[in-house]
C-alpha cells in the first residue's frame, strides 16, 4: 500500500466542490421544521403511545365485536366450513344506517385452523359425551357510507368452540 502513498497524497489535495447555499438552507429548514416531531416521537414516549394506542385499539375492537355480533350468524354445529372465506354481503336495505351514515357492507369469516379436542364428559356422566372442536378464525366486518363513499373495515381474530353430542349405538 506504501506504493500508493504519493497518489493518495495527491488525491487528498483535491477539494470536493462545496455544497450550495440552497442545499444548506433546505437542510437547515428540514432540521428546524422537524424538531417538534422528533421531540414527540422520542423512543420512551413512543413506547407510551404504543401502549396507549394498543389499549384504545383493543377497547375499540371489543366494542365493535359486540356490535358486530348482531350481524354474525352462528356457524352450524355439525358441518362447519373449513379454510373457506365466506363473504356474506348484507343488503344495505335490511339494516338501517347508524348515526354516522355507515351501513354494514360485508362480513367475512375465514377459518384458518381447526383442532379436534376429542370427547369430553360431564363430571357426573349423566349427559351424553360431547365432541369438542375449536376453530380459530379471523372475522372481518366492513361498513360503507353510501353518501360519502367512506368505508370502515374491522378485522379481528376469534375463537369458536363447537360441542357436538355423540351417541354410541
Amino acid at each position: 500500500m506504501n506504493d500508493f502513498s504519493e497518489i493518495e497524497a495527491e488525491l487528498k489535495k483535491l477539494r470536493p466542490a462545496p455544497i450550495s447555499q440552497d442545499l444548506c438552507a433546505r437542510v437547515e429548514r428540514a432540521l428546524t421544521s422537524n424538531v417538534s416531531t422528533a421531540a414527540v416521537f422520542r423512543r420512551p414516549k413512543r413506547r407510551g403511545n404504543l401502549w396507549w394506542s394498543l389499549g384504545l385499539s383493543l377497547a375499540g375492537a371489543s366494542a365493535l365485536v359486540l356490535l358486530g355480533l348482531a350481524f354474525l350468524e352462528e356457524a352450524p354445529l355439525s358441518t362447519p366450513h373449513l379454510n373457506v372465506a365466506q363473504d356474506r354481503s348484507t343488503p344495505a336495505t335490511t339494516v338501517p344506517p347508524n348515526d354516522n351514515g355507515f351501513r354494514p357492507a360485508a362480513l367475512t369469516r375465514v377459518v384458518y385452523q381447526r383442532r379436534d379436542e376429542g370427547l369430553i364428559f360431564s363430571p357426573n356422566q349423566s349427559e351424553q359425551p360431547l365432541r369438542r372442536v375449536r376453530y380459530d378464525t379471523r372475522e372481518t366486518m366492513r361498513w360503507r357510507n353510501p353518501q360519502t363513499g367512506a368505508s370502515l373495515r374491522v378485522s379481528y381474530p376469534a375463537e369458536q368452540v363447537v360441542l357436538t353430542p355423540v351417541s354410541f349405538q
Binding site: 495527491e10 487528498k12 483535491l14 477539494r15 470536493p16 466542490a17 444548506c24 432540521l31 428546524t32 424538531v35
Partner: protein, 164 residues
Amino acid sequence: MASVLTEEDWKSCFTQLGPALLLFARRWTHSRVEAEDIVQEAFVRFWRRQHSIENRALLYATVRSTALDRLRSDQRRARREATVARDGATHCEPQFTDLDESQQVLAAAVERLPDEQREVVILKIWNELTFAEIASVLEISQNTAASRYRYALATLRKTLQPHE
C-alpha cells in the same frame, strides 16, 4: 457514548460532511441538483432516526439507499442514468474546486474511473472511511473494497505518470 446533539451541531456536521456526501451521491447521478436532493433526503432521514453522527458508515449507507430508492422509483430515469454511466459520459459539472493544471488531470482521471472503483476511492480518500466501513456501506467484502481501491489507485498513477 453518543452525546445528544443540538440542532446547531447537526447543521455544523452537515456543513462539514456535505461536500463529501455530495461527491458520493454523484455516483448515481450526473446532475448536481439531483445529487443535492439525495444528500438532503438522506441526511434528514438519518437525523430523524436519531443515529449517532459518529456512525459515518451508516450515514453513507443511508445516502446510498436513498439514491437507490430514487432510482427504483423512476425506472425511466434509472435507465437513463444507467445508460449515461455505461457510456462513461463525463460529468457536466466539476466535482472539485480550485484545481491547478495537474490536479485537473487527476480529477478528470478520477471521474473516468469505473463507478465501483470511484465510489471506493471517494469513500476512502475524501470521507476517510476504513475498508470495513466501506464494505458495510457498499455491501461488499473488505477484500473486494481493498482490491477495487488498489486497482483505482494503480490506474490513477498510470494516468499521471506521463505528465510527471
